[in-house]
Amino acid sequence: MSRKTLFIITLLLFFSCASLWAITAEEIIAAVDANTSFASSHSSGAIITVDRFGEKKSTFEAWSKGDNTSLIEFTSLAERGQKILRTGSSLYLYYPEADQLIRLQGAALRQSVLGSDLSYEDMTRESSTLASYDATLEGEDVIDGIQCWIVKLVAKSRSSAYPIQTLWVDQERFVVRKGLYATAAGRALKEMEVIALMEVGGVAMAKESRIADLLKRGSSTTMRIESIEIDIPLPDALFSLENLSW
Amino acid sequence: MVRLEDVSRIYQNGQSVVKALDRVSLSVSGGEFLSIAGPSGSGKTTMLNLIGCLDTFDEGELYINERPIGGMTNKERTAFRRRHLGFIFQSYNLIPVLTAYENVSFVLELLDMEEKRIKETTLHMLSEVGLAGLEGRRPAELSGGQQQRVAIARALVKEPSIVLADEPTANLDSKTGEEILTLMKTMNERRGTTFIFSTHDAMVMEYARRLVLLHDGRVVSDEQRGS
């Protein structure tokens, strides 16, 4: 038996044992990430922002290809034609009234999208959670009658927006049901809960989720996916700068 | 001294053309005391204005001190007047804010004379016309006759070769008028200055040693008179 074969057997043994006895936090997070990444997608939905001034609903249509190419176009009246294009690590905004194209970078990425609790950088976040966070399994809990793992994520660097995240992950479907986002000192900032799930291509994903700002009472952002198609052919030209101003 | 050769002055007023002077020829020698007379509109004032280099003529030529005036520019005529001609006006034309002294001396200031000489000459001139002691008065503080005396002093102070006077006594009563004419004549005799004055007053004509009568812009008579 070569040393290489021995190594593989040991590894297999290790994983099978682990899966028998307990799943690791890293495996849970990897599975969640895998469930939310598609070769391509085309979706439409709405962002509903509630703050002390009232409620505002914006609708959008979105296309994505791979992990870091996406295009969002707003379709609601107030912001019709506004587009956000992400290609690689660059983010562009297009405003139809001014026929103006703006490239966002640096601190500008931290601005809120349409006054919601989502920022532009939320849209450019790395798809691999484990690249930025260390994960530990904290225990189990039941959310809406569903058995969940509680995974605590601690940011590896200061460039992650939330120093600490606590996620409740559905043990059957590997979808996040609830998240709590906090400062390094542990002060809770935001809470995300999934209100409705849907099945797409055999995997579960959030159809409607709400992020509440815990510091600003009564302020929340609800994101709803009305329709989604995945793994469909999309032309590369869709994600080009030229295409922004059609 | 003064020579007009076929001089015409034509005024154009819209369509109508008025010949204020019609080919007038006249020769005046130095030291004359000459009156230009005639009814109003006969061309008296036009003639004085021409000789005074205040106006231009349309035909002929005018010589003063043998110099042709016709070709002179405005500036040259101004300089010529400053140096050679004195004026006396019907309504005196004194500057009301200046004293008698200042009204006379300013003529010398124009000649850039030095201050001391201006003073001597002016004071002497004023006493010659009988205004000694009244130098500091303003025109409003003087009688009409005194004002015209100031005007005469002003005309004579720079010792011009010719003094032109347009109806010099018209604004004065006859007694004062005669005094003024006497003064002018005295000056004419004492200084040898040529006097040319216009009038339509028979009494004034009496004083003239030569009387030129104008009618419709033409010389109708030109007579020497005894004094």
Binding site: A108, R110, Y162 | S91
Partner: protein
């Protein structure tokens, strides 16, 4: 000399008309001087209050920070402020490091009666801040935070009033640290400052720089180093000196003057100066209309005299001088009265000032002045007004004089 005497004497004959024209010019000039004094006073005081409370004389930033200044980017902070501070101190100037960052003040209903939040800029200062800024004397209530005090903040009094905060109020500060992570911490208002700079009163939030360093993960980095240049030294030349001295130390930093930092204010000042030019222009109109009318009437009335003088052989040059002098003298008289009135107005502005508190509180005029707007003396404005009033008046006579000299002597004589 004769011409001057003539001009003076001629003026005396229309006493009333001369006085009315001169008074009109005087009012214009007095108004110009008063407004100019006010604007100058406001500018001087604003400049001082900018330097004392807002911008210092000079400031060091990284070039990248300056380009992105709208976002107050902590990521573009000065990583090693110490050598820069030492260099500046060695050159004999006071300098302190500060960190400015954007944040939200989260107000809870328990404390403030309703929930709310307010985007603010927080300035984190050190113990030595007083060597450049002058907040020490502006404390109206409470105290300043101590070095290292993690939760003490000081607010501008108007800001505190606007949000309903008093000394002792608790609130939460929410922000993003260097790198972009979210941070939130509890803070307590320990003091209120009432500063002569309304902009500061309206917006100021200050905290300790050591505390900010910890919360924001600065690790010793600061966003700016602020420098005090004594009044007797020229800011631009110190800027050049420091730029040179710092370039070998840290090529990523730039030295900016208070003018670079207070663009909004400079824009206001230049637009207000447009206002005082407008007044100057109005004076010109008054002078032109008044003087040319006065001179036109004088020329008409004195047509015979003018003709006489021309007949006597007075050159046009002398006539010009005589009448322009006459007009200029009206202007000079007006300017003299105007300067006396203007001086009185300026004296009042300097000693008493105009109380604008009723409008300054809510209206941002751009000037950094407290409620009372004070004037300042400006010799140059008085000179400009006097010379301008006189010269313009003289110029206004040009048209009437030209008209009078154009008419033939004989026609003017006939009118006698």
């Amino acid at each position: 000399m004769f011409l001057l005497r003539l001009a003076v004497k001629n003026l005396s004959r229309y006493t009333r008309r001369t006085i009315i024209t001169a008074v009109a010019i005087a009012m214009g000039i007095a108004m110009y001087l008063a407004v100019d004094s006010m604007l100058l006073g406001a500018a001087e005081e604003s400049e001082r209050n900018l330097k004392w409370y807002e911008t210092a004389s000079l400031r060091v930033h990284t070039t990248a920070w300056w380009e992105d200044r709208l976002f107050l980017p902590l990521d573009e902070a000065i990583e090693e402020p110490q050598p820069i501070l030492e260099t500046i101190h060695a050159l004999g100037y006071g300098a302190v490091s500060r960190t400015r960052f954007s944040a939200e003040l989260i107000l809870g209903w328990e404390e403030f009666g309703e929930d709310g939040y307010l985007p603010v800029e927080i300035t984190a200062i050190g113990e030595d801040d007083g060597t450049v800024y002058r907040y020490g004397a502006t404390l109206a209530e409470g105290r300043f935070f101590n070095a290292g005090e993690m939760d003490g903040i000081v607010l501008g009094s108007w800001l505190a009033e606007d949000i309903g905060a008093t000394v002792g109020s608790s609130l939460i500060v929410s922000t993003r640290g260097k790198g972009g992570f979210f941070e939130a911490f509890d803070a307590q208002v320990v003091g209120l400052v009432n500063c002569p700079n309304p902009n500061v009163n309206r917006t100021l939030v200050m905290m300790d720089i050591q505390a900010a360093d910890q919360y924001l993960g600065m690790k010793g980095a600061v966003t700016n180093i602020d420098i005090l240049v004594p009044d007797r030294e020229e800011v631009q030349s110190v800027q050049r000196t420091l730029s040179q001295a710092l370039s070998s130390l840290d090529s990523s930093v730039i030295v900016l003057t208070w003018k670079d930092l207070a663009q909004d204010y400079l824009a206001i000042v230049s637009s207000k100066q447009g206002g005082s030019s407008l007044i100057l222009f109005l004076i010109f109109i008054i002078a032109a209309v008044g003087i040319s009318n006065t001179m036109l009437m004088a020329m008409y009335e004195r047509g015979g005299e003018i003709a006489m003088m021309r007949a006597m052989g007075m050159e046009e040059r002398r006539l010009w001088v005589s009448f322009l002098l006459e007009a200029a003298l009206i202007g000079l008289l007006g300017s003299a009265i105007g300067m006396v009135l203007g001086a009185l107005a300026t004296l009042y502005m300097v000693e008493v000032g105009i109380d604008l508190s009723f409008m300054l509180r809510d209206l941002d005029m751009g000037f950094r002045i407290p409620s009372v707007m004070r004037g300042a003396w400006s010799l140059s404005s008085f000179i400009v007004a006097a010379v301008g009033g006189t010269v313009l008046s003289g110029m206004a006579a040009v048209i009437p004089v030209r008209r009078a000299l154009k008419s033939p002597i004989t026609t003017a004589l006939v009118r006698l």
